[in-house]
Each structure stands twice: as structure tokens, then as C-alpha cells.
Symmetry: C2
Subunit: 207 residues, 2 copies
């Protein structure tokens, strides 16, 4: 049996890291093996690209170059880790995937949809997550939470307007792909977010 591919998406301070651990635990309880990973990154080489992508000093990185780097890291991640894991029957839980590219590079930076679509097709063709948990919350609340974590990376330094566009793109994708997306109200307390996620896991993936 092929494993399932679950992605967590959302803006800054949405609580993805905490929920990723819980989702992984939920899957392990069902007896399946689970791989926890993240984008950009997930493999040694893709993590090197992550460093370049998030480095606050790389202010000259152009939108198109950023987009290509994201997909270069993704191609490596898919080949080295995600596809082999799914083929073995393991589950994969990933912090961000191509929906983040649509939200950040598409919505946030305004890069053309045609470019993103071309790269999506080139890099992963028909492979899509089985379930995407979108942790949605108001931008200001998310940024307040994120700022508490300390120094901002290259993306976290963007303006509030940028993150409003990111949020809007995420929500539009959830409307576009209702069978794959579950929108979670991430403005609530941790336990209330987790209740919603468990419900989504059971409804969408439960036997």
C-alpha cells in the first residue's frame, strides 16, 4: 500500500511546528511509519538551498530566481525523501509544500501563475498531497506570535500587506481544492486547534 502525504500550510505564527508533531503522533498510533519533514529543505542539499532562500542578507534574490530555487529544492526533496517514503508505504507529514509557493511567490510576490504552474507540472506532475491542513488565522495575530520567536528571516521581514495577500491566496486555494484542503481556525488555543485537526484527520483519512 502507498503511504499518505499530508501537508501543513499557513502563514507566520500559525503553529504548524506544534501541530506537525501531533499529527505525526496520531499517525504513529495507527501503526504506520511516519516521516516528518519540511520545505524548503528536508534533505541535506535542499537544506543548503533553504539557507540561501531564508538568508536575510540575500536581499538581491529576484522573484524568479527564488521561485526556481524553491522548485529545485522541492525536486530534490521529492526524489530523495518523499517519493521513496510513500512508495515504501510510509506516511509523510510536511511543513509547507507547493501550496506555499502559490501563496508566497504567487500571492505575496505576484509572480505569474503560468510560471508557477509550469514548474509545478515539471517537478511533481500528478503528485498531490492527500490532505492539506491550512492553519488559518488573522495576519496580525500570527505576526505577534512569530515576533516572540526572535529575529525575522527574509520572508518574515515582509510587510503586513504581503502577508494579507499570502493569507488570501491560501484561502482561495482551499476553495479551489475542497476535497484536499481542510481549513483550521488557528486563532484558537492549542487544544482547540488540535481538536479540529483530529476531526479533519478522522473525516478525511480515517478507515
Amino acid at each position: 500500500m502507498k503511504g499518505r502525504f499530508i501537508t501543513l500550510e499557513g502563514g507566520e505564527g500559525a503553529g504548524k511546528s506544534t501541530m506537525l508533531e501531533r499529527v505525526a503522533g496520531w499517525i504513529e498510533q495507527s501503526g504506520a511509519k511516519v516521516i516528518k519533514t519540511r520545505e524548503p529543505g528536508g534533505t541535506e542539499l535542499a537544506e543548503k538551498l533553504r539557507e540561501i532562500l531564508l538568508d536575510r542578507n540575500n536581499i538581491s534574490l529576484s522573484g524568479k530566481s527564488e521561485l526556481l530555487l524553491m522548485f529545485a529544492a522541492r525536486a530534490q526533496h521529492l526524489d530523495d525523501l518523499i517519493r521513496p517514503a510513500l512508495d515504501r508505504g510510509d506516511w509523510v507529514v510536511c511543513d509547507r509544500f507547493t501550496d506555499a509557493t502559490w501563496a508566497y511567490q504567487g500571492g505575496g510576490r505576484g509572480l505569474p501563475s503560468a510560471d508557477i504552474r509550469a514548474l509545478e507540472t515539471l517537478v511533481h506532475g500528478d503528485l498531490k498531497p492527500d490532505l492539506t491542513l491550512l492553519l488559518d488565522l488573522p495576519v496580525e495575530q500570527g505576526l505577534r506570535r512569530a515576533h516572540r520567536r526572535g529575529q525575522a528571516d527574509r520572508f518574515e521581514q515582509e510587510t503586513k500587506k504581503f502577508f494579507e495577500r499570502v493569507r488570501k491566496s491560501y484561502l482561495e486555494r482551499a476553495v479551489q481544492f475542497p476535497g484536499r484542503f481542510a481549513v483550521i481556525d488557528a486563532s484558537l488555543a492549542v487544544e482547540d486547534v488540535w481538536i479540529q485537526i483530529q476531526r479533519a484527520l478522522q473525516d478525511r483519512l480515517g478507515q
Copy 2:
């Protein structure tokens, strides 16, 4: 007036570096300003990607990821250096460009033409070199010269068959784009190679 864009192409040990200096000198004598650059690389950020691409230890780098990285570096190089220089009226002489991607990733690695074409369109649309000097020589002769330079990078470690495919792809492109390509016999002595290149410069670009 827009500047002219000249690229030097060819396999290992073809003598591109030496000839690049001479071509730049020839242009300067005509009174134009000239920018010397190379791919992958040419800007601070693209040089970081060059390091990843040429690092002999990155043996896991997949073909698709390599292709995307090449174009990510190229997008940055075009935005930060090549297009601004040409717009100012400067000339640009570049050691390798997209023809190298067709030869190495297309011919050498066998990556699909459709993928390369999609990325070429995405990254530089209609921008093409005004003149491409293809320094052609038998693979064995080139590799003998290259080996004298010392330790091989990730590409130089490939097999002789790989380089035969690279050479064949280069020559096919020269046939496909005769108006842009000048094929130079690089198996000859330096001065004889230079005579051919000067003739090509005069014929194709001279007033």
C-alpha cells in the same frame, strides 16, 4: 544603442577562459565597454549556487534539481548583471549560457527537451546571444588538457561517453542556429584558434 551579447561554449579543456580574455580585449579596442562573466555564476548569489552545482560531494543532486538550479542561477545573473549591462550599451562576454544547459543537462544527462525549453522560455524568453563561439575539439584531447589543471569538479568526473553526448549536442545546436553559432576548431594551437575567432567576430559583428 544596446550592447551585444557574446557567449563562449565548448567541452572541457576547449580553452574558453583564454579566448574569453582575448575576445574582451578585441571589443575594448573598438571602444565599447565590456563585462566578462561566466555561468553558472556571475553574481554573488549565483556563485553560491555554482558552488553547490560543482561540488564533487553533492553526488545526490538529481538531474531535475540540477536543471532548476542552473536556471535559478541564470535568472539571477540575467536580472542583476546581463540585462542591465546590455541596456546600458555595454557588451557582455559570457563563459557558457543556455546552450551549455542543452548540451550538458539535455545531451549529457538526457533530461527531456520539453523541460529545458519550458525553463528557457520562463527565464529568458526572447533574449538570445548575438554570437555564440563554439570551441569544438575531440573529447579525448579536451579531457587531457583539463586533467592537467588538477582535481576534477562534479561535471569533469563524468565518463567519456557523457562528454561525447555533450559534444554532439553542441554541434547539433550549431546546425540548428547557424546565424548565431560560429564553430571554431579548438584542437589547433592557441594562435590558430584566435585567428578563427577574430574572423568570426569581424564577419558577424564587424561594422
